[in-house]
């Protein structure tokens, strides 16, 4: 499909268990993510997919297990450290600033890269000004990439859902991430919007070499675009491998279609 070469393991999740009181969200889950690959996490509702994503970028602290990121072993991630390490994400329920324009929303994605201090930024003076121009240029590249020129100055709240999703992806891209976490990027979209989103995800992966971990319900999409798929059910891992392998895994079929008792 493309010339990108899938590299070594950069993120290794080892025996992760996560509990909320007596509720076991994740039980003893291990899988790894290689550089430049598209890794999908699938599973029925309540399988623990979003929890898994939250463990990866440090929002949740697992009770057991280790996360090895680029050779560095730790018990859990911290959200701000994850962001600094090049993680960016989108959310299942869109989390944009509805009253702000698309452009301003994307600029917030650059926040972490701002070097000048708060005071200089507020005064928009000297280095802060030069810096902002540089960031604006980056953001314009993202706008161009996602083909959203026509809504640059439109408040996000006024946009249709599919476009809001695209803007959210844009904000994540504005941070120039090395690993992109996408939580149901295609939920609630029509066929055409899904096709567009697929194309953008593949392009991001292809052009910038970004590693992508995504959660998705649409099986067609997952099987089409991902390199490897991990399947969760009731907080346990029941399958892991290339899309074709997973598709024929009896446990996976059972989890999705049910079994005869």
């Amino acid at each position: 499909m493309s010339t990108r070469a899938i590299g070594d393991v950069i993120l290794d999740l080892q025996n992760i268990s996560l509990r909320f009181g007596g509720v076991k969200a994740l039980t003893d889950i291990s899988f790894d993510v290689r550089e430049h690959e598209i890794r999908a996490i699938i599973g029925p509702n309540g399988a623990g997919k979003s929890s898994m994503l939250n463990v990866i970028n440090g929002v949740y602290r697992p009770q057991e297990g280790n996360i090895v990121f680029r050779g560095e072993k730790r018990h859990n991630m911290e959200p701000h450290k994850a962001a600094e390490a090049g993680f960016a994400r989108t959310f299942q329920n869109i989390a944009l600033f509805k009253g702000m324009s698309v452009l301003d929303n994307l600029m917030t994605g650059r926040n972490l890269k701002m070097r000048s201090n708060f005071l200089l930024q507020a005064l928009w003076w000297g280095p802060a000004r030069r810096e902002e121009l540089e960031h604006r240029r980056k953001v314009e590249e993202v706008i161009d990439f996602l083909e959203i020129e026509h809504i640059r100055k439109t408040p996000v709240g006024r946009l249709p859902y599919g476009l809001q999703k695209r803007v959210e992806l844009g904000r994540a891209l504005a941070a120039e991430p090395s690993i992109l976490l996408l939580d149901e990027p295609m939920a609630g979209m029509n066929v055409e919007e899904k096709q567009d989103m697929c194309r953008f995800i593949l392009d991001v992966n292809d052009q910038f070499g970004t590693t992508i971990i995504l959660i998705e319900h649409d099986m067609g999409v997952v099987m089409d675009i991902s390199d490897r798929v991990v399947v969760l059910d009731y907080g346990r891992k029941i399958g892991d491998g290339a899309p074709d392998e997973v598709k024929n895994n009896p446990d996976v079929i059972a989890a999705y279609l049910g079994t005869q008792h």
Binding site: S2, T3, E140, I143, E149, H150, K153, Q195, D203, Q207
Partner: protein, 657 residues
Amino acid sequence: MSDPTMGERLDTFPRYLLHHARVRGERPAMREKDMGIWQTWTWAEVAVEVRALAAGLAELGFRRGENLAIIGDNRPRLYWTMCAVQMLGGVPVPLYQDAVAGEMLFVLQDAEIRFAIVEDQEQVDKLLEIREQCPALQHILFDEPRGMRHYTQTFLQSMDEVMAMGRIHDSNSHDFLDAEIARGSPGDVAVMLYTSGTTGKPKGVCQTHSSFITAAKSGVEFDHLGASEDILSYLPMAWVGDHLFSYAQALVAGFTINCPESGDTVMNDLREIGPTYYFAPPRVFENLLTQVMIRMEDAGQLKRGLFHYFMKVAKRCGAEILDAGVKNAGNVPFSDRFNYALGNLLIYAPLRNVLGMSRIRVAYTAGAAIGPDLFRFYRSIGVNLKQLYGSTETCAAVCFQPDGEIKFDSVGKPAPGVEVKIAANGEVLVRGGMMLKEYYKRPDATAESLDAEGYFLTGDAGFIDADGHLKIIDRAKDVGKLAGGAVFAPNYVENKLKFFQYIKEAVCFGHDRDMVCAFINIDMGAVGNWAERRNIAYSGYTDLAGKAEVLELVQQCVEEVNAELARDAMLAETQVHRFLVLHKELDPDDDELTRTRKVRRGFIAEKYAVLIEALYGGKTSQFIETQVKFEDGRSGKVAADLVIRDVKTLPVVKKAA
């Protein structure tokens, strides 16, 4: 403009370019919005770039007399391509960028295209799809490198590469291009534009430098256009109108052209640029007005009240006041003038600003008939909108409406140096310096369309009124007769129907029949909004088009048209007796419309023969299922049970008595 030509022969477009680079080298020639910022190229810079491109093409082996295809949106580099090709004595052939690969095939084969310069990956993919069938096609150059990384074919090259190569070549042997430019003569074919093909296969219209320069000059002089004009170039480059305004006139007058960021941002870009000279087909003006009206419906009561009050004032006297600026006719009462000035402050000026028309000195429309209400609306809010008449074969420059002599139903007076006469069968004949040299490789068609005295047969039926204005009623070949013998001009009736904002397309039938019946397409935006305000729920076009309330709405429009037709003794017989609202929108992708959105009446009649039978057979409804093509090339089916309605017709006033 002083005359700084100093003995230069300004008789080809490349010479014009070098002339401007010398005379007004620092003035902006082109702008394009890229990465959110307007990028500017001066005339001097454009000349350098065009030379680089021309030299690069010559290096690749492009030869004098060859055709080169240009496919893409309005991008500066594609305009440069035109001039670069002309420098080498070649002929640029712009194609409609939204055509599917299959439609491009004919032109690529007919013009024996060896070189194509295209905008981006999308267009490259189309050409790759049909490359097998075009063995002549050897070089494809692309402007936008995005997405092209994995294309390894050696016949694909980026324009950057070719221009870099050309820069070296041109600096090593500057004389080469100068000699090539010197070899150009005004009688050379400058551009080949394919006719949209309402009938049969498209034909390549060969226009010389001389004819397009004549056409451009007459327009420039007619409206006193100077080097300070700004225009927005957003219409397809393959269309004669864009070629005249964005290329020929821009080069002759030396004004600035501005390319929008993308097709979706045209409205925004229009506001940012504020063109002084503007050209759009009627449907663009119509869409703009529809948008304004929809937004006004949602505005607060005070704003809406003000808007409607002052629009009434404008309707009463706006157009007269605009004309008065030229003829200085002070017959507008003082109270009206005062009201209009107030309205200008509160409504018209802000509205012009929203439309991006604040700086417009002259705006033109052509390509189809424009509704009198629509036309009057723009003139009444102070936009100097005028009509012109012309075709691809006549460089779109036969008639212009002179300032101060605007008639809503005429297309104006013949341009200086153009002769217009009406043939015995009512067809409009034209002769002048702006005419085609020939149809490409079609001597038969050339001979058919030019008569012995050198008049071009336009194929339009019309007449010249008492003031010397030309009035067009229909295509000459479309004018038919009802079974009763009355003259039937289908376009005339269709246009009357389309002037209602709720009706997007109409197709009328009646030739050799005893009455006129019509297919109608509703306007999704306007009718959708209308339905929402009445709490009528609908799921899509087919559903909305079938609603009884909508049919009632359309029926009212048709009855109004009938009332109007009944007043004209000549046309009273052609009132619409029965109609139906089609279950799908007529679409160029389904071959029902041409790329310029003209209806293909014959094709439609064949495709929907069942419906026509039902209309004339007296049925009250008819089931139909139709195949449709989606934009991504897949196809699906739309089916519906169409209700056929009878319309009240009025007795023919004179004849019935």
